[in-house]
């Protein structure tokens, strides 16, 4: 690829950035669309039917009976395809317009702030299949850095050679040659497609890959076409129906053969056979004739109706104001319109943590200083929702961050009283950290913290009058109660996951040496001086309280150092840090040595802010018997902590198993232990090897019962072993016994693997919800993927099926929309099969009375219009408006959701019942009119038992019966439904009288031979009495059966529905419309036994070195941004593609970064999401 030499770029070779997403244009639409449509089996089937119908010997029905519905179905589908196409084309346009220059960007690049912070953040991708790939080179070497944008002359000829397109996000190799100089290009110098540049006004780049060649595109994996379980069931059923159709036709053709032999051959005087047709051949022809007549058992409009219903129900999701997030003005969006009913069947939810359950905002909430707990006021007030508590006024502090709020005034009082402990406490917070400060404008401090926890702590200190202002590698400047002091920074004893603490050693302006330490309570407590015992007890109590509330705690301690000792320690420290062997161990030993006999200052409690309503939502979903597994890239402590604050883990749980072993055997042992704790004695009997049934499909693992509540926390390492073939079943069964499962430190790939595991062994519908790129694989793997929208990363949304802004909307999506969709779809299917079977089976009975001649019972026009006109709208109305109980009651009784999970509303059994019901109805519909019309005449003696009158009678009975049946099934009669039902009946009679009128006959004599039938038979009382008897007899047994079932075996539905009516009539209706009272905050049970640490610090190692290194000097202190949470390599972005395997033995996750280059750029251009 040559740069900047335009004459070397032949137009042809340049890849355009646009991706063609529209399939059709105006001219090819019709043929192409028709071709596609006829590839669908259902449509092809009807085409074959049509062909059969034009064979005169077979044709038992006029061609129009098939053509009219087929054309209608094809045009509806074509219209939908066209709309989809236009929509996708419209979405294409803006992107194409806004980014055309990208592919031809010059190679040179420069940044307004050369060495400052460049953030790459995944930004909203406008449309996923239009990925504009761009890899922008960032030149950090000074020779390439221009001072001004117009530097194109700097490089007249440049050349980039690089690796071919691949899906590895974590590496890139290439070289840039310019003016004879070579620069190596690695992963840190490229921008991936979808990144956003921040904090720079402009930047030059060179596009290396575009479109599908971009790494992101290569990584997206194949989007599999998702189908609902109802879809799959329907396919099976349709096959069964085909079989049944063939079976019926075979019986009837055998009947025909026998009839032809016994009667037909003798009846030839009046009905001569067509030439060459003998009895067996006639039987053969009859088979096909009956295929035509009985084809309505495979209803052509089924698929179209299903699509329409799903579309309608998707629109309800888009339209729902209660799923619209006001703050970000983001409405919910059903991105897939084909999965709705599956939302009513979810059994497992896999949730991401950061950004999904939490807001990724940390707030300094409480603290305990010298045995006194602060911040409690806030908690008291939080009990009453929406009540504003008086926050602390920060006006005394000009440097305060006014976004920070605190509700306990006593702490401010204590600070103002200059209590030494309180002062030390905040001084520690202001000194002991790796935050960097930016002060572009005097007095406006922006902190840049490596972890949000630190940011919160330093901000808290700032507001309470201990303002961290700036740092150099050797000093930290803070403003203490308005006075600026500079502390000499002598050492940073850096944080890591083993130490779980960090310390700084500083010399105060007065010359006092002091070590400040903050860290996990467990770690700090071990190193405290004995004199602190009493304080420890009090603080422990506070820590327990904090932890019980799900807050993240840190213990703070300090120690005054002896000058002499420190000098010697410093010497040894220097030796250790420069030694080549066992540097880490030596340093650790040194750290241990100095961090002892600490004096406890207190503890901090930080709230990892949950999104609104998360605990309530989880509680509701748990009541609906939905299991929630949290899959997070976070550390175990953080994940556990969130588990507690979401009420997923609870103190009163019988046991919480933590699996964090590092090899296969240990993991197995830990899982087995967990299993035997939960199911004592059952271990021997349990078989954990995957059984395979015939056809090599893994056996479905049934749900198992367990006494008590358990939780399981497993980390990524162990999970890698647990997901191995020999252990996966043990893991799955153990996990499924637990009420809560939390997988921490998992890679995106593992997220998908866990989902796949559950999909494989559990006959359950899964849902994955997440917000970031790391959730994409899991979102794609699950039956339903939900993306949290309205935030920066849109990748999750783009690969999701549904998106909304807040986790709490999930409750409404599932318990209301999902449940209704499922209910509606099931009701629709049951009714639709019923009405078509009933319609068709009548032909079967009539066959015995028409010599198996494929004579239809009904008028051909009725056959044509039955599904399309007479019965289409009422059932559609039911499937769009029906609700068993309204949304409030759905929330109040989440158990209403359970039948969906158990497939109770539509299954093979339900289908079979439907078919039986149809058989009964068809028997009544044929034999009652048969017996009632047998040998009878009109009241003026004329004919009424003729074929046409009988046909009219049968079809009228049928229409009325199916309408009443619909009325029975429908539980929510809106005006629209009333209109549809009565309208359809009126339509039937209007159409019938019109088609059987003189005028119509005179225009088309051959097409409307039923002239006069309606007038001659529908004025007879015995005809109406027959209609009444038939329809009542069809329906009454159903009513009786349902009534008895409600009495004898009431479902949850039957129990809740009367309540709603009761409330409607007796209580005031306001209550029904009012929101259910927010669940009272769970009363904390005071812990008696084990102590749980609330430690959860999302910090990564390596930053101590950074802030003390000389490279840091290159950063002017005023250029940092606020609220910035970059991350270290340890929790960095991992490849999300399938190809990027995860090795359990590799040390990619937990080890220290091996190669943190100490440049500011290196530090800050990690991907956004700090914690997976």
């Amino acid at each position: 690829l040559e740069a900047n030499s335009r004459d070397h770029e032949p137009e042809k070779e340049r890849r355009t950035n646009a991706i063609k997403t529209s399939k059709y244009n105006t001219f090819n639409f019709l043929p192409l669309n028709l071709f596609e449509q006829f590839q669908r089996i259902a449509n092809a089937y009807f085409l074959i039917l049509l062909l059969l119908q034009v064979i005169p010997a077979i044709s038992s029905l006029s061609w129009f009976t098939t053509v009219v519905p087929l054309v209608l179905v094809l045009s509806v589908t074509a219209a939908k395809d066209a709309t989809d196409d236009i929509v996708s084309m419209k979405r294409t346009l803006p992107l194409g317009l806004t980014h055309p220059p990208l592919p031809t960007l010059p190679l040179y690049l420069g940044l307004t702030h050369p060495l400052y912070l460049i953030r790459k953040v995944f930004k909203p991708l406008d449309f996923f299949h239009l990925l504009l790939g761009c890899l922008i080179l960032m030149m950090t070497h000074s020779p390439l850095l221009p001072d001004k944008p117009c530097v194109s002359s700097l490089l007249s000829e440049g050349e980039v050679s690089c690796e071919p397109p691949n899906n590895r996000l974590d590496r890139f190799t290439g070289t840039l040659t310019n003016a004879g100089q070579k620069y190596s290009l690695d992963n840190d110098k490229i921008l991936l497609r979808g990144c956003t540049l921040r904090n720079t006004e402009w930047c030059f780049g060179l596009v290396l890959f575009g479109g599908p060649e971009t790494k992101l595109m290569q990584n997206c994996g194949k989007t599999t076409f998702k189908r609902t379980s109802i879809d799959r069931l329907m396919n099976v059923l349709v096959l069964c129906i085909f079989g049944f159709l063939a079976f019926m036709c075979t019986i009837l053709s055998i009947g025909n053969r026998i009839w032809e032999q016994l009667w037909g051959s003798e009846f030839t005087a009046f009905l001569p056979r067509q030439g060459g047709v003998d009895a067996p051949f006639s039987g053969f022809l009859t088979f096909w004739s009956y295929v035509i007549i009985l084809n309505t058992v495979v209803p052509i409009s089924l698929y179209v109706s299903v699509e329409v219903i799903r579309l309608g129900n998707s629109f309800y999701i888009d339209w729902d104001r209660k799923m619209h997030h006001a703050r970000s003005d983001t409405p919910a969006k059903a991105r897939t319109t084909t999965l709705n009913e599956e939302l009513g069947q979810i059994k497992y939810i896999f949730s991401d943590k950061t950004g999904t359950l939490t807001q990724n905002i940390m707030t300094f909430n409480k603290c305990s200083i010298n045995g006194k707990s602060y911040g409690e006021v806030q908690m008291v007030h939080r009990k009453s929702y929406g009540e504003h508590t008086e926050t602390v006024d920060w006006s005394f502090n000009p440097l305060a961050d006014h976004h920070f709020s605190f509700h306990d005034h006593s702490l401010v009082e204590d600070v103002k009283l200059e209590s030494p402990e309180v002062q030390s406490f905040f001084r520690l917070l202001a000194l002991c950290h790796t935050v960097m400060a930016e002060e572009k404008i005097e007095g406006e401090l922006l902190y840049q913290a490596q972890s949000p926890d630190e940011g919160a702590l330093v901000t808290a200190a700032r507001n309470f009058g201990f303002v961290f202002r700036s740092r150099t590698p050797e000093s930290v400047t803070i403003v203490e109660m308005g006075e600026q002091h500079s502390y000499e920074l002598l050492a940073i004893l850096d944080f890591n996951n083993v130490r779980k603490r960090m310390s700084v050693i500083v010399r105060s302006p007065e010359g006092k040496l002091c070590l400040y330490c903050k860290g996990a309570d467990t770690m700090v407590y071990e190193r405290l001086h004995q004199s602190c015992t009493k304080l420890m007890d009090v603080t422990t109590e506070h820590l327990n309280e904090f932890a019980g509330e799900g807050l993240r705690t840190l213990a703070l301690a300090y120690k005054d150092l002896d000058e002499e000792y420190f000098t010697s320690w410093k010497q040894r420290h220097h030796e250790a840090s420069t030694s080549l062997e066992d540097r880490e161990d030596k340093l650790d030993l040194l750290y241990e040595e100095i961090e002892k006999d600490l004096k406890l200052l207190g503890a901090t409690a930080i709230e990892d802010k949950l999104q609104d309503g998360v605990p309530q939502t989880i509680e509701q979903l748990a009541k609906a018997d939905i299991k929630i597994w949290v899959l997070t890239g976070d550390k175990q402590e953080t994940a556990e902590n969130i588990g507690y604050s979401c009420n997923m883990l609870r103190e009163e749980m019988n046991d919480i198993f933590i699996v964090s072993a590092n090899n296969s055997d240990d993991v197995r042992q830990e899982l087995r232990n967990a299993w035997s704790t939960m199911k004592p004695g059952a271990e021997e009997a349990a078989n954990f090897m995957p059984e395979r049934t015939l056809g090599n499909k893994p056996k479905v693992v049934r749900d198992e019962e367990v006494n008590g509540e358990y939780g399981l926390v497993i980390n990524g390492h162990s999970l890698a072993y647990a997901l191995e073939g020999s252990m996966e079943l043990l893991f799955l069964r153990t996990a499924c016994l637990c009420k809560t499962v939390i997988c921490c430190r998992v890679t995106p790939l593992q997220k998908a693997q866990v989902v796949e595991l559950v999909k494989k062994y559990k006959q359950a519908v899964t849902l994955a919800i997440g917000d970031g790129a790391n959730d994409v694989s899991m979102i794609k793997a699950a039956h339903i993927g939900v993306g949290i929208s309205g935030q920066e990363g849109m990748q999750a949304v783009l690969s999701s099926d549904y998106s909304f802004a807040q986790f709490r909307f999930l409750e409404r999506l599932l318990l209301v929309h999902g449940r209704w969709s499922y209910l509606r779809m099931c009701k629709f299917l049951r009714y639709f099969f019923y009405k078509n079977f009933t319609f068709t089976f009548v032909h079967f009975w009539y066959a015995f009375f028409c010599g198996f001649s494929a004579q239809t019972v009904y008028d051909e026009w009725f056959i044509t219009l039955y599904n399309l006109v007479y019965t289409a709208l009422p059932v559609l109305g039911m499937s769009l408006f029906d609700q068993d109980v309204n949304d409030m009651w759905s929330f109040q009784h989440p158990q209403l959701y359970v039948p969906g999970q158990l497939n109770q509303y539509f299954s093979k059994t339900a289908f079979f019942k439907c078919a039986l019901h149809s058989v009964y109805s068809s028997v009544v519909l044929f034999f009652i009119p048969y017996a009632a019309m047998y040998d009878t005449v009109r009241d003026d003696g004329r004919d009424i038992a003729d074929y046409q009158s009988f046909a009219l009678l049968a079809q009228t009975c049928l229409v009325i019966t199916v309408c009443i049946q619909l009325g029975l099934d429908m539980s929510y009669w809106t005006a629209v439904n009333q209109f549809f039902v009565w309208g359809s009946l009126a339509m039937y009679f209007t159409a019938t009288f019109t088609m059987y009128s003189n005028g119509t006959y005179l225009i088309f004599p051959a097409s409307f031979p039923f002239i006069g039938t309606a007038r001659n038979s529908l004025n007879q009382p015995n005809v109406w009495l027959t209609i009444l008897l038939t329809s009542i007899l069809c329906v009454l047994p159903v009513v009786a059966y349902r009534f008895l079932l409600i009495q004898l075996r009431p479902t949850i539905n039957d129990k809740v529905r009367p309540l709603t009516n009761h409330t409607l009539s007796s209580r005031n209706t306001d209550q029904l419309h009012a929101a259910p009272p927010p669940p009272a905050r769970r009363a904390r049970i005071h812990r008696t036994s084990t102590r749980r640490s609330g430690y959860a610090f999302s910090h990564a190692a390596g930053y101590g070195d950074l802030v003390t290194s000389n490279c840091f000097l290159r950063r002017p202190a005023v250029t940092l941004t606020t609220a910035f949470t970059p991350l270290g390599r340890t929790t960095g972005f991992s490849p999300m593609g399938r190809s990027a395997g995860y090795s359990p033995t590799g040390n990619a996750l937990n080890s220290r970064p091996q190669d943190v280059e100490v440049t500011s750029l290196q530090m800050y251009h990690r991907m956004r999401d700090p914690t997976f």
Binding site: E266, D946, N977, P1005, I1011
Partner: protein, 338 residues
């Protein structure tokens, strides 16, 4: 409640989009179902009784004249080769057969409901379209053209197989035969007679049939079906219309004549009768049966016991069912609490 601002993306607040449409929500509660069953049951029993009584009051006299038994007078005619055979059927009435009396012929095991039989006719031709006199539609095959390629009018199996037995009823009064007058008008549907079937507007009617042949089984062409009455001739001949309205079931009866005139306007008086049958129509070859039926009608049409009994049975079942449901409800009704 309304504090949230209407932002650009906020969905509309309508009852429809928010799924809050007011609705009637019926339920299968005991208070509706049990009384409902009782009411339906009682209503059905009432209807059933009315129907049953109406049906009981209808008199039907049915006589088979196929001539299967040797004892039957028509046995001699049962040989199809025997043309223009006449037989008679004697019967006596002990009471007055209340009028108006309808006289039907009935056929059994006769599949007018067969599809290929039913479609074997030409509606255009029968509506008087002369184009179709020359080229009848192919559905009429093999009665579309005769061996000489002359079009058959009316074409098709249905027309060709028209019933052609003739009947004359005599009352034996003091040993002499007194002809009971038959009324053959208005036995077909008004719509068939006035709209659906029409003769071509050619006079004389015979000319319209030039170049066509009569159906092979017919003894005379269509334009000679009733030479005495032009309004009962050709395609609008009442007997033809009755035949062309094909039956739904293999056993059927068709109206032949009404007895409404003269001494018999109020019915057939008690006494001896003799029915003279012109036996032409062969049914024995396919195991069919022929019969004649005298019947009067009521408000509910002809005699049909089934409907009344069915109503009574269903009505009773409803009442029984309501009792069962009441018992079940009283015993098992689930507690009203949450």
């Amino acid at each position: 409640m309304k504090e949230e601002l209407e932002t650009a993306n906020r969905p509309d607040n309508t009852a429809f989009t928010q799924q809050r449409l007011p609705a009637w929500q019926p339920m299968l509660s005991a208070g509706i179902v049990i009384p409902g069953f009782v009411l339906i049951g009682l209503a059905f029993i009432g209807i059933g009784v009315a129907l049953f009584i109406a049906s009981q009051n209808i008199t039907v006299l049915e006589k088979d004249y196929t001539g299967v038994e040797i004892t039957s007078d028509c046995y001699k005619c049962s040989n199809p080769s025997d043309k223009n055979c006449t037989c008679k059927l004697d019967f006596s009435l002990s009471n007055l057969f209340e009028g108006p009396v309808f006289f039907y012929y009935g056929l059994s095991n006769y599949f007018q409901s067969q599809r290929s039989y039913g479609v074997s006719k030409d509606d255009y031709q029968l509506s008087g379209d002369l184009d179709y006199f020359k080229t009848p539609i192919s559905a009429c095959s093999p009665y579309q053209y005769d061996a000489n390629q002359n079009p058959i009018v009316p074409c098709g199996s249905l027309a060709n197989s028209m019933f052609n037995d003739t009947f004359k009823l005599y009352q034996i009064v003091n040993g002499t035969k007194k002809l009971v007058p038959f009324d053959g008008k208005g036995i077909a549907w008004w719509t068939d007679y006035n709209i659906k079937y029409r003769n071509p507007s050619v006079t004389p009617l015979k000319n319209a049939f030039n170049g066509t042949v009569k159906p092979p089984f017919w003894s005379k062409p269509a334009y000679e079906l009733d030479t005495s009455d032009p309004s009962n001739n050709g395609f609008v001949n009442q007997d033809f219309l009755v035949w062309m309205r094909r039956a739904a079931l293999p056993d059927f009866r068709k109206l032949y004549r009404r007895i409404t005139e003269g001494d018999y306007a109020s019915g057939l008086p008690a006494g001896n009768y003799s029915l003279e049958i012109g036996y032409n129509y062969p049914v024995l070859s396919f195991g069919g049966r022929k019969k004649v039926v005298f019947s009067n009608v009521s408000w509910m049409g002809g005699k049909n016991q089934f409907l009344g009994i069915a109503y009574l049975v269903v009505g009773s079942l409803c009442v029984v069912m309501s009792t069962v449901m009441l018992i079940v409800y009283a015993k098992f009704k689930f507690p009203e609490d949450d």
